[in-house]
């Protein structure tokens, strides 16, 4: 935890420097607001922000759930079928070269301005890290342990349950952490392109009106949400795999 104090101190210093620079050079609010002005905007717009945050969180949460569930399912299927792996894996990699910003408008055309296109964007973005990292975790299972279980008479599914899945959990959670943060971002991007509620909408409206302090307030909320979901995933990980955090030796 000692290391965190340094970064907290550094952030505090940077914010102070920002405040001082804005005042010293008298930078107008619509170019760069001072941190105190951002804080005031945040406080003033809080009820509105809470309302918009609810929509963003709903889209991100639903998208993350669908995307990561699909990613896990595909990772398991690719692990069981080398043929499927060879057919699909390059396709998944190539699919990541398509910028999500180009897909989102298409989704708006297909699914309208409601919650659904944002959920789909978040799911598409969340799918990839989970599928890739969970699959590589499954593939990294120790062949000697699997051989040992085979000599005990274990079948493929028993080996999957006892060796492969528990062994792949650290990689799975690494993927889930990435997907969860991407999910928030993807939902916001989806909202930029057409929605009636959500932090993305709040952000576009604020920037169109040159309310830069509100834009910063929204950025702050998005950051806090992203850190929040990472902490949530970490907490779940601690509950699911306590052994991982208790690796010290007796001697």
């Amino acid at each position: 935890m000692g290391n965190n104090w340094w970064s907290i101190a550094f952030t505090g210093l940077a914010v102070l420097g920002w405040e001082w620079a804005v005042r010293f050079w008298q930078i107008p609010r619509y170019i760069l607001p001072a941190p105190t002005e951002v804080a005031a905007a945040l406080w003033q717009a809080l009820p509105l922000l809470v309302e918009h945050t609810r929509f963003t969180l709903a889209a991100a949460g639903a998208g993350f759930a669908v995307g990561s569930a699909a990613g896990m399912a595909l990772a398991l299927a690719m692990d069981r079928s080398p043929l499927l792996y060879r057919a699909v894996y390059p396709l998944i990699l190539v699919s990541q070269t398509i910028p999500i910003i180009f897909i989102a408008p298409l989704l708006v055309i297909w699914f309208g301005y409601g919650l659904l296109p944002k959920v789909v964007v978040a799911a598409l973005v969340g799918f990839f890290p989970v599928a890739i990292s969970f699959h590589s975790g499954l593939a990294a299972a120790d062949p000697e342990i699997m051989d040992l279980l085979k000599t005990m008479g274990a079948g493929q599914w028993t080996i999957m349950r006892i060796v492969k899945i528990p062994g792949a959990l650290p990689s799975l959670f690494a993927g889930l952490r990435i997907s969860a943060t991407y999910g928030i971002m993807a939902a916001v991007i989806g909202e930029w392109l057409g929605a009636s509620k959500g932090l993305g909408v709040f952000m576009t409206r604020a920037s169109h009106s040159f309310l830069v302090d509100r834009v910063f307030a929204a950025i702050l909320v998005v950051s806090v949400l992203s850190v929040g979901v990472v902490l949530l995933v970490n907490t779940v990980q601690r509950l699911v795999m306590p052994w991982y955090f208790r690796q010290y030796r007796a001697d």
């Binding site: 040992l148 000599t151 005990m152 008479g153 006892i162 528990p166 052994w243 208790r246 030796r249 007796a250």
Partner: protein, 250 residues
């Protein structure tokens, strides 16, 4: 009635295919482990000892030859012999207790019964008080004892040990030898013990089979007619050691 051997190998041949073509690994190995006998396979590193154990445990099939375990055909058939590989292969996400009951769990023995059975043996295997510890919290010697308990809980009369103490320091190793013999005398399984350590083979075994370099053949079979516990410094042990060194061409 003639008692069948616990393990009978008749003229086992095995080659592996690689870029250079066929590499012969085992060239006509025949040997028998009698019930309750402790037999060591002594041979140079990389001579194919582990391949032979994989054949007996049913993981790979021999190209030619017969494998019988208590009279049953063991070719390509797993589960007839308990196998302990070189590494302890304990699952890091399971406690010691849940690691050792693995073979029972796979045989679908109810978990409570499997745990009770394992708990009763924790003391004998020097693991009392560490039931709920994770493998990473154990010392090297304890990990090997846990792996051995897992092998014993398999309920097979035939136990295959592949250099189980190979990675341990000399002092821990000597202590585990003494301990292994007390456990073996208590349960009397038939043991096939693979090693490249001459003293280890001398201290433990009823009989030592010396294997040649690859492709492996049985060079010699030497009975060790000496009461246990044995001292490696005993004149008879030293004489046998000389004989073994001769067979290993050292």
């Amino acid at each position: 009635m003639i008692m069948p051997g616990a393990v009978e190998l008749v003229d086992i041949w095995k080659s592996f295919r690689n870029k250079q073509g066929l590499t012969p690994v085992l060239a006509g190995i025949s040997l028998t482990v009698k019930p309750q006998e402790f037999v060591s396979l002594l041979g140079p590193s990389g001579c194919g000892k582990s391949t032979l154990l994989n054949i007996i445990s049913g993981l790979i099939r021999p190209d030619h030859g017969e494998v019988r375990i208590h009279g049953q055909d063991g070719r390509g058939r797993t589960g007839l012999a308990s196998y302990m590989p070189q590494k302890d292969l304990l699952l890091p996400w399971r406690t010691v207790l849940d690691n050792v009951i693995l073979p029972l769990e796979i045989e679908k023995v109810p978990r409570a019964r499997a745990r009770a059975e394992a708990l009763a043996l924790m003391e004998t295997f020097g693991l009392a008080g560490f039931e709920q510890a994770y493998p990473a919290q154990l010392s090297g010697g304890m990990r090997q004892r846990a792996a051995l308990l897992r092998t014993f809980l398999w309920h097979n009369d035939v136990i295959l040990l592949d250099e189980p103490f190979g990675s341990l320091d000399a002092i821990t190793k000597t202590r585990l030898h003494k301990w292994l013999l007390t456990v073996w005398e208590q349960f009397r399984p038939s043991v096939l013990f693979i090693t490249h350590d001459i003293e280890e083979a001398l201290v433990l075994s009823d009989r030592i089979c010396v294997l040649s370099d690859r492709p492996a053949r049985v060079r010699a079979e030497i009975p060790v007619d000496l009461a246990r516990p044995r001292m490696p410094t005993h004149p008879h042990c030293i004489a046998l050691k000389k004989e073994l060194l001769g067979h290993l061409e050292l």
